[in-house]
């Protein structure tokens, strides 16, 4: 019996006349890698934004780890254990790689202004712990050597990894990655795949948007397909691949 971590039901999101998410429901089980595919404009990123509190859905239900997260603020969602990366990398460009990850620790730490001013022992210990953990995470994603570079100066592949490290710094139960392999060469994609396997085996559940079908087929335990804001298929990769509606959606999109 699979153990549900995240469950959404009947999610709707409209932008004016555009029905970006139309009655979307899905369940992500603890420990799996769950893939989300679909043509451009299908609503994948919109769903991410709903799941991370950046968009308020119009209707639906959303529970995570036994907690109701429907229409919750982004910082509440992060605290509950969902972290994400962005399709268009959104790092804090002028901060160093290390500082970026340290910001990710914010939600799990608590030193306030008074502690900062007094520099009492607890604050200093916490600060050191933040720094150590951030370094550890940079090494974990394989970019420990650029810890003190400003984020905006990093190579594209490094920026993608840094976003993952920053998200991991929030101690997520579910890590949601929006097209992490976009713009990567085959070699980098392979390394990224290894990293995602590593993250999963550390006990973090993964939600993944990706266009690289081959990557998705090998990596994901289950895949859902979105088209025009609707979920048109869901299942193990082999099922989804041979689903006529999916083939049509992709061919249709290719012809459009």
């Amino acid at each position: 019996m699979a153990d549900a971590l995240l469950k959404i039901e009947g999610i709707h999101k409209r932008f004016g006349g555009l029905h970006a998410l139309n009655d979307v429901g899905l369940t992500i089980n603890r420990g799996e890698i769950y893939g989300l595919i679909g043509p451009n404009g299908a609503g994948k990123t919109t769903l991410f934004n709903v799941l991370t509190g950046l968009y308020q859905p119009d209707e639906g239900k959303f529970t995570f780890n036994g907690q109701d997260l429907f229409r919750q603020k982004p910082h509440v969602v992060v605290k509950a254990g969902i972290a994400r990366t962005f399709q268009n990398i959104r790092l804090f460009g002028e901060m160093t790689a290390l500082e970026n990850v340290m910001v990710g620790r914010h939600v799990r730490t608590k030193a306030g202004a008074l502690g900062a001013i007094l520099r009492d022992r607890a604050t200093m210990a916490e600060e050191k712990a933040i720094r150590d953990r951030a370094r550890e995470l940079l090494n974990y994603v394989g970019i420990g050597n650029v810890a003190n570079e400003r984020a905006r100066n990093l190579s594209y592949g490094h920026q993608r990894r840094l976003e993952i490290a920053r998200a991991l710094a929030t101690d997520p139960t579910l890590l949601a990655l929006d097209e992490p392999a976009a713009g990567m060469n085959p070699r980098e994609t392979e390394d990224l795949q290894a990293l995602m396997e590593k993250v999963r085996s550390s006990g973090v559940t993964l939600l993944l948007i990706e266009h690289d079908v081959k990557l998705m087929m090998t990596l994901c335990d289950r895949i859902a397909v979105l088209d025009y804001g609707k979920k048109i298929a869901e299942g193990v990769p082999q099922e989804v691949k041979s689903n006529p509606r999916v083939i049509e959606a992709y061919l249709g999109a290719a012809h459009a």
Partner: protein, 369 residues
């Protein structure tokens, strides 16, 4: 490492000595009015560093900052002058002014939480004016602030029965109160610097920078944007409140005139000219913008008399003209400020070869910048 440390100690010791004897050197060569200018420079350092938290660290453009200075000053004036015949000890009303200012900071911060850039600037500007207009008009039906006349005979700060407002005699020479205030202001300015430095290099300081760099990403990383913004407004306002209280006790007189838009812009100019976000830069900006106008005052009039035998341009106008020109030139040549933080400097210099997609490409994430 130990060598580096001893170098730093030496630098600290040297600047300590210079700062300690500065008023005597300035006073004996240029006169007491210049010591007074030094005092104001220290006061403006505190103000500018407070504003720097809001504008430089957190990236929130605040054009009404002087309102907090006003709150601190009026708190001190009302509670320690014959105007309401209330005389409370300074050690109580100075912190009270700071707390009230912080409260006003949150009052300003709450409604503007969702505003950015230009809109934020306009609302904060309005807030500053509202406070000033209140001070101007709260003399009827009940006279609280004494309106445009302001409040005078504010009692100076007293330490152990010893009033800082009275001249002191030392080794047969009488020293004006501007000397004693110098040391008080110096102490508090140094304290402000330490606090700002510590805040900058803390969990909170990082959150402010993250907010400045990308508030959506910051929010998505779990930062509570509302609290972080309000904390910036409140912390900044606190320094404004303390500086205001000191100003009131130092001047012995406050009126709404001291808290106009021009003052807000002046403090902002200190932050921007010196180098937003960089503490040393902001200090430099505050000192330059306090001292230069005074310097011009001393130079322009006499220079005209010497050259032409009469005043051709009104010295006050000429002074502001030259001052304005100097500001424009500096901002053209060094838009990042005279002494920017490394981060800020880089922002200005490699904005073009940007590795990170800016606002235009945020469409794919469906989030507007």
């Amino acid at each position: 490492m130990p060598q580096n440390q001893s170098k730093r100690m030496l630098a600290f010791a040297l600047s300590g000595i210079v700062l300690a004897v500065l008023p005597f050197i300035v006073g004996s060569t240029l006169g007491n009015s210049w010591v007074r200018t030094l005092d104001f420079a220290l006061l403006y350092i505190m103000l500018a560093l407070g504003l720097n938290i809001v504008v430089g660290f957190a990236g929130l453009l605040d054009l009404g900052y002087i309102a907090f200075y006003a709150v601190g000053a009026y708190t001190f004036a009302l509670l320690n002058s014959p105007h309401l015949s209330i005389f409370m000890p300074w050690w109580f009303i100075l912190p009270l002014g700071a707390i009230l200012a912080a409260f006003f900071g949150i009052m300003l911060g709450t409604p503007v939480l969702r505003l950015r850039g230009d809109y934020l600037a306009i609302v904060t500007l309005g807030f500053g004016e509202i406070i000033r207009i209140f001070m101007n008009n709260l003399n009827a039906p009940v006279n609280i602030t004494n309106g445009p006349q302001g409040i005078n005979m504010i009692k100076p700060i007293e330490v152990a029965g010893f009033s800082l407002g009275k001249p002191v005699e030392l080794f047969g020479t009488t020293y004006n109160s501007v000397y004693i205030y110098y040391y008080l202001f110096l102490l508090l300015a140094v304290l402000t610097v330490i606090i700002c430095h510590r805040l900058q290099h803390s969990r909170i300081g990082r959150a402010w920078v993250a907010l400045r760099e990308d508030d959506v990403a910051a929010n998505a990383m779990g930062l509570n944007i509302r609290n972080i913004k309000l904390l910036a407004f409140a912390m900044g306002a606190t320094f404004g409140g303390v500086a205001g209280g000191l100003f009131a006790s130092f001047q012995g007189f406050v009126s709404p005139e001291s808290f106009g838009l021009m003052e807000s812009i002046m403090v902002l100019a200190m932050v921007v000219l010196g180098g937003m976000g960089n503490i040393s830069g902001v200090i430099l900006g505050a000192v330059l913008l306090t001292v230069t106008p005074e310097l011009l005052r001393d130079i322009i009039g006499p220079l005209q008399m010497k050259a032409f035998g009469r005043m051709i341009v009104d010295p006050e106008n000429a002074r502001m003209l030259m001052f304005g020109l100097a500001l424009i030139v500096v901002m053209l040549v060094r838009p990042e400020g005279l002494w920017p933080s490394k981060r800020r400097k880089a922002e200005f210099h490699d904005a073009l070869d940007d590795g990170i997609p800016a606002a235009d490409s945020q469409a794919a994430d469906g989030l507007k910048g």
